[in-house]
C-alpha cells in the first residue's frame, strides 16, 4: 500500500554526473550568479507533470551513465529525456510515464541508447535547500543541490511533501507524438547574435552552410564545437556583456562555443548567433562526437514555434499547479540595485 511519506533514496552508485536541478536560479545574474538549472527544460517539465509536481520542482539530471538508487519507501517517479536504459530490479521500465517503485527496489541504468541527459522526477520533488531561490546545482561555484556537488555514493535523497492521491498519477504518460527523438546529427535553428556585425560577411553563411562537431571539451557550461572557422572582420576589442543559454560565442580561434546552463553571466567573446528556445532541449541531448547543422530563423518565428509547442504540451499534459507562473516577480526575490 502506497503511503504519502516523502521518498527516501540511497545512492549506491552515482553515475557519471548526476545533479539536482530545477528550472534555474534566476534573479541573481547581476551578482555574477550563473543560472544553471536543467539543461533540458522540456524533459524536466514533463517529468514533473507526470508525477504531479509543479514544473519548477527539482529533479535529478543524469548524464550518459545513470546512477544506481535504492528506494527506501514506496515512491512515484517518472524518467524522461535521454534513453539510458532504465530498469527496476533488472527489468526494463518505460520512459515518459509515471511509475511506482516499491520500497527496497533498485533503480539502475545501462547503455545510453539515445540522447545524453535523462531526468528523474520524484513525486514531491527532490528535496534540497533553496539557495538564492533555487535548488539547482552549479558545481563550479559549489552552489545549490546537495552541498553544491554532484551525487556521490552514500548520499541520501529525500523528496518534498507528497500530496495525497499521488498514486492516481501512476501510468500517466506523455503522448508519443510529443516525445522527442534524439539523433546524433541535429539541426538547431539560430537567430542573429548581438555581435554578428563583427564577423566577416561570409561568417553567417559559413555557420549555416557547414556542420560542427561537439568536442570532448564540452560540459554543462558550454560545448566547444569544431568545424569551419568563423572569421572576424578585424582585430577589434570586445567589452564583456550579458550571455544567454544557446548563445554561440566565438573566441579568436574562430571555433564557436555553444553556451549552456552553467554558463557565466557575462562574457567577453563576440556572440554571432543564438539557438532558439524550442531547440535548446535538443542541444541539451548532444554528446561529444555528435554533429550540429545550424539553420537561420527569425526571433518572431522562434516565439511562434515555442508558444505552439508549449500550448500542445499544456493541452496534452497540463501543468499540475494552477500557479502557471514559474518564477515569482523579480522585485519579490531580491533587493534592487
Amino acid at each position: 500500500m502506497m503511503d504519502h511519506q516523502p521518498a527516501k533514496i540511497l545512492v549506491l552508485k552515482s553515475g557519471w554526473l548526476t545533479t539536482v536541478q530545477d528550472l534555474g536560479r534566476y534573479g541573481y545574474q547581476h551578482y555574477g550568479v550563473s543560472v544553471s538549472g536543467a539543461m533540458d527544460s522540456f524533459s524536466t517539465i514533463v517529468a514533473n507533470r507526470l508525477v504531479g509536481n509543479p514544473d519548477q520542482a527539482a529533479v535529478l539530471e543524469l548524464t550518459l551513465k545513470g546512477p544506481e538508487l535504492r528506494f527506501e519507501r514506496d515512491t512515484v517517479v517518472a524518467i524522461t529525456g535521454a534513453d539510458l536504459s532504465p530498469s527496476i530490479n533488472g527489468h526494463n521500465v518505460p520512459m515518459w510515464e509515471s511509475l511506482a517503485i516499491q520500497r527496497g527496489q533498485h533503480l539502475s541504468f545501462g547503455m545510453p541508447h539515445a540522447g545524453a541527459r535523462a531526468y528523474l522526477a520524484l513525486a514531491g520533488g527532490v528535496e534540497a535547500p533553496l539557495v538564492l531561490g533555487s535548488r539547482s546545482t552549479h558545481y563550479a561555484s559549489k552552489t545549490g543541490g546537495l552541498h553544491g556537488a554532484p551525487l556521490k555514493p552514500g548520499d541520501i535523497l529525500y523528496s518534498g511533501t507528497v500530496r495525497p492521491f499521488v498514486t492516481q498519477q501512476i501510468g500517466r504518460r506523455l503522448p508519443v507524438p510529443l516525445r522527442p527523438r534524439y539523433e546524433h546529427s541535429v539541426t538547431l535553428r539560430i537567430t542573429p547574435g548581438p555581435q554578428q556585425n563583427v564577423f566577416g560577411n561570409e561568417a553567417p553563411t559559413t555557420l549555416t552552410g557547414t556542420t560542427y562537431t561537439v568536442s570532448p571539451q564540452s560540459d554543462r557550461m558550454g560545448y566547444r564545437l569544431a568545424g569551419s572557422k568563423l572569421v572576424r572582420k578585424g582585430p577589434a576589442e570586445f567589452v564583456s556583456d550579458g550571455t544567454s543559454m544557446g548563445a554561440l560565442q566565438v573566441p579568436s580561434d574562430g571555433q564557436p562555443i555553444l553556451l549552456m546552463a552553467d554558463r557565466q553571466t557575462t562574457g567577453g567573446y563576440p556572440k554571432i548567433a543564438v539557438v532558439i528556445s524550442v531547440d535548446l532541449p535538443f542541444a541539451a541531448q548532444l554528446a561529444p562526437g555528435d554533429r550540429i547543422a545550424f539553420a537561420p530563423c527569425t526571433v518572431a518565428h522562434a516565439h511562434t514555434l515555442l508558444r505552439a509547442h508549449r500550448a500542445q504540451l499544456d493541452a496534452d499534459l497540463p501543468p499540475c499547479d494552477s500557479r502557471s507562473q514559474l518564477i515569482p516577480p523579480l522585485n519579490h526575490r531580491h533587493e534592487s540595485f
Partner: protein, 247 residues
C-alpha cells in the same frame, strides 16, 4: 561651474542613447556608448534600476555590464518587440542623471607574500618598488562596473595605466578566496576559491559572498571600493572575526 548643456545631456539616459542588440528569443541587450567609462556605466546602472523598479512580471534577470544591460525574459510572456515598446514608455526624463548612489566600501588588503604572489612581478612590470605599487593601487577608489565570472566577483576600475599588467599566460587552477588581482585596467576580488588568470597582489579577509546571509553579496554595480593596506596581525584578526561571524 556647470557643464555646457550638450555635456549634461550626454550623461542622461534617454531612448536615443541606446542600441538594442538581439540576444535570441528570451533576452535582449541594451547598449549605452562604446567605451568603458564611468559615464556610460552610470547610464547602465540607472537604466537597470529603472527597469527593476517597474517590477514587470516575466522579466527574469536584469544584468548590467560595463556599457550595457541584458534583460532576460520569459519568452512565453514577452518578446523583444513588446519589451522595446514597453521600454519606450519608461520615465526616461526622470531617470537618475548619473552617479553615484552606490555605497563606498573600504576593503582591507594584505599585500604581497603568499597572499599576493604576483606583487613582485607587477612591480617589475610597472618599473616600481613594491611599496609604490601598493600606494598606487590604494590611491583612489574604484568603481564596481559590474559583477560576473563567479558569484559576487566585482570588476573594478580603472587601474592606473602603469599597473595594467595583462592576465597570466596560464591561469592558476585554484585562486584562494579573498585574492585581489589585476588584469589590464581592471582589478577584482575573488569571492570564492576558483580557477583564475588575474595577477594576484594581495588578499582581503572580508567576505564578499556569504551564502547563508540574508544579504549574501557585499558589493553591487555602481558601488565604490577603496583598498587599504593592512599588516599580517590585522589580517589574522579580521579573518578570525569573520569566521566567527559566519559560524
Amino acid at each position: 561651474m556647470s557643464p555646457p548643456p550638450h555635456v549634461r545631456r550626454r550623461t542622461r539616459t534617454s531612448p536615443e542613447t541606446f542600441r538594442l542588440l538581439s540576444l535570441g528569443d528570451s533576452a535582449v541587450t541594451i547598449e549605452f556608448g562604446n567605451a568603458i567609462n564611468p559615464e556610460s556605466n552610470a547610464r547602465v546602472i540607472a537604466f537597470a534600476q529603472m527597469v527593476s523598479e517597474q517590477g514587470w512580471n516575466g522579466i527574469l534577470d536584469i544584468v548590467p555590464s560595463y556599457r550595457s544591460v541584458t534583460l532576460h525574459f520569459d519568452p512565453l510572456q514577452w518578446d523583444a518587440a513588446a519589451l522595446t515598446k514597453k521600454l519606450k514608455t519608461l520615465p526616461w526624463e526622470h531617470s537618475p542623471q548619473a552617479d553615484p548612489q552606490g555605497l563606498v566600501h573600504e576593503i582591507p588588503v594584505l599585500y604581497g607574500g603568499e597572499w599576493g604572489p604576483d606583487l613582485e612581478e607587477v612591480a617589475t612590470f610597472a618599473g616600481l618598488q613594491v611599496a609604490e605599487v601598493i600606494a598606487l593601487h590604494t590611491a583612489m577608489p574604484y568603481r564596481v562596473y559590474m559583477l560576473g565570472f563567479s558569484p559576487g566577483f566585482p570588476y573594478l576600475g580603472l587601474v592606473p595605466e602603469q599597473l595594467a599588467i595583462p592576465r597570466r599566460a596560464t591561469p592558476r587552477t585554484m585562486v584562494p578566496a579573498g585574492s585581489v588581482g589585476i588584469a589590464d585596467r581592471q582589478t577584482g576580488i575573488y569571492p570564492t576559491a576558483t580557477p583564475g588568470g588575474w595577477q594576484l597582489i594581495g588578499r582581503t579577509p572580508i567576505p564578499l559572498y556569504r551564502t547563508a546571509s540574508h544579504t549574501p553579496f557585499l558589493l553591487k554595480p555602481g558601488d565604490l571600493v577603496r583598498f587599504t593596506p593592512i599588516e599580517r596581525d590585522e589580517f589574522d584578526r579580521l579573518s578570525h572575526l569573520n569566521r566567527h561571524e559566519n559560524a
